[in-house]
């Protein structure tokens, strides 16, 4: 891909995202702790600290979700893994802003920090070190039957689930009975750090502790797999030297 074109399109995309995200930030509850004050300030300039109308929110969501899908399509469609990784960043970032529209301010921050930040840096790092673009046939080459079954299942899922989604309207009480058909009003604290934090340290205390085991096994496992080891016998050392020479 032409490098200049890539940079220009990336810049344009970033500008569009910033614009939309400031609008979305203005939408976030003003008293929440999830949005930094300066973000509210700049966003306030843009949207004059008024709440967006439902229609404007709907269109903001449509544009963001559209960008998200376009990013997803480019992720799986681009030949160059670097471009794919950057498109994935865009997708994840758009998802983060949609979280803001849904009042999930804390998760939005985490999404951008951890997902679009940390995980993607890891991806780009590995892509840069191993993923030089090579000729690749895109399409079903091996295991066609199982792949066709998988793809058919996914499409069927979409067709079957979408109508249900479009009519999904329920606000339920504790017993699971539907009591209202409108989107429930939420307090200004909904989804902010305090709200989610209370959940994490009450009901989710044990999962919160258990996830540390998951992270530990991931770290130790990754170290174990990537550590470069030299065998102590002569033959092994020779082989290792030979492979080092190749690399």
């Amino acid at each position: 891909m032409d490098r200049r074109k890539l940079y220009v399109s990336l810049l344009l995309a970033a500008a569009a995202l910033l614009l939309i995200s400031s609008v979305a930030l203005a939408q976030a509850p003003s008293t929440s702790g999830g949005v930094a004050p300066h973000a509210q300030f700049y966003a306030g300039k843009l949207a004059s600290s008024k709440k967006l109308s439902p229609l404007a929110m709907l269109w903001a969501m449509r544009v963001l979700a559209g960008l998200m899908l376009v990013g997803g399509i480019f992720t799986i469609g681009s030949r160059n893994p670097v471009v794919a990784a950057l498109c994935l960043v865009g997708t994840l970032f758009c998802t983060g802003i949609i979280f803001l529209l849904l009042h999930a301010t804390f998760i939005a921050a985490i999404q951008v920090l951890v997902y679009a930040g940390a995980i993607m840096v890891l991806f780009v790092f590995v892509v840069m070190s191993v993923g030089h673009p090579e000729r690749e046939e895109i399409g079903l080459s091996r295991g066609i039957i199982s792949k066709l079954i998988g793809g058919a299942f996914a499409v069927m899922l979409l067709l079957r689930v979408s109508p249900v989604y479009m009519s999904y309207q329920r606000t339920v009480n504790a017993a699971g009975e539907i009591i209202s058909k409108a989107m429930p009003p939420v307090s200004s604290k909904y989804g902010n750090v305090e709200h989610v934090g209370k959940l994490l340290f009450s009901d989710y205390l044990f999962p919160f502790e258990a996830i540390s085991i998951l992270l530990l096994v991931a770290i130790v496992g990754a170290v174990m797999v990537t550590r470069h080891r030299r065998r102590d016998d002569n033959k092994g050392a020779a082989a290792a030297a030979a492979s080092a020479g190749e690399g």
Binding site: L58, M61, A65, M68, L69, G72, T75, I76, P81, A84, A85, L88, T91, L92, T95, I98, F99, L102, A104, F106, I107, Q111, V114, Y115, L122, V126, G131, E134, E136, E137, S141, G150, G151, A154, V155, L157, L158, S162, M166, Y168, Q169, R170, T171, V172, A182, M183, P184, P185, V186, Y190, G191, V196, L200, I211, L214, A218, G221, A222, V225, H228
Partner: protein, 100 residues
């Protein structure tokens, strides 16, 4: 409520895009990215359902899935690096040391 309805459909489409990516791509790195797309679609679905119900359970679940995605990416990329060292490629089709 229209917003959430449409958002759920968008999330389902994103999930299907991820599945298709896993199916059609040979480059392991892009397959891993497609898996991230699938997990991201699940996150979006959780948050949308959570908002539709006005509770915060989905937020907790999503937080755990983000941590899980990080852990999975770390191990997956570590294995990709190890494979690249031994095979000098990340193309799935070239991995055929073992015959059926």
């Amino acid at each position: 409520m229209t917003m959430i309805n449409e958002l759920l459909v968008f999330a389902a489409v994103l999930f299907v895009i991820g599945v298709i990516g896993v199916i059609i791509r040979r480059n392991t790195l892009i397959v891993l990215m497609s898996v991230e797309l699938m997990l991201n679609a699940a996150n979006l679905t959780f948050i949308a359902f959570s908002r539709a119900r006005g509770d915060v359970l989905g937020h907790g679940f999503t937080l755990m899935i983000i941590a899980l995605a990080a852990a999975e990416a770390a191990v997956g990329l570590a294995i990709v690096v190890a494979v690249f060292r031994s095979h000098k490629t990340v193309n799935v089709d070239k991995f055929n040391l073992m015959k059926r």
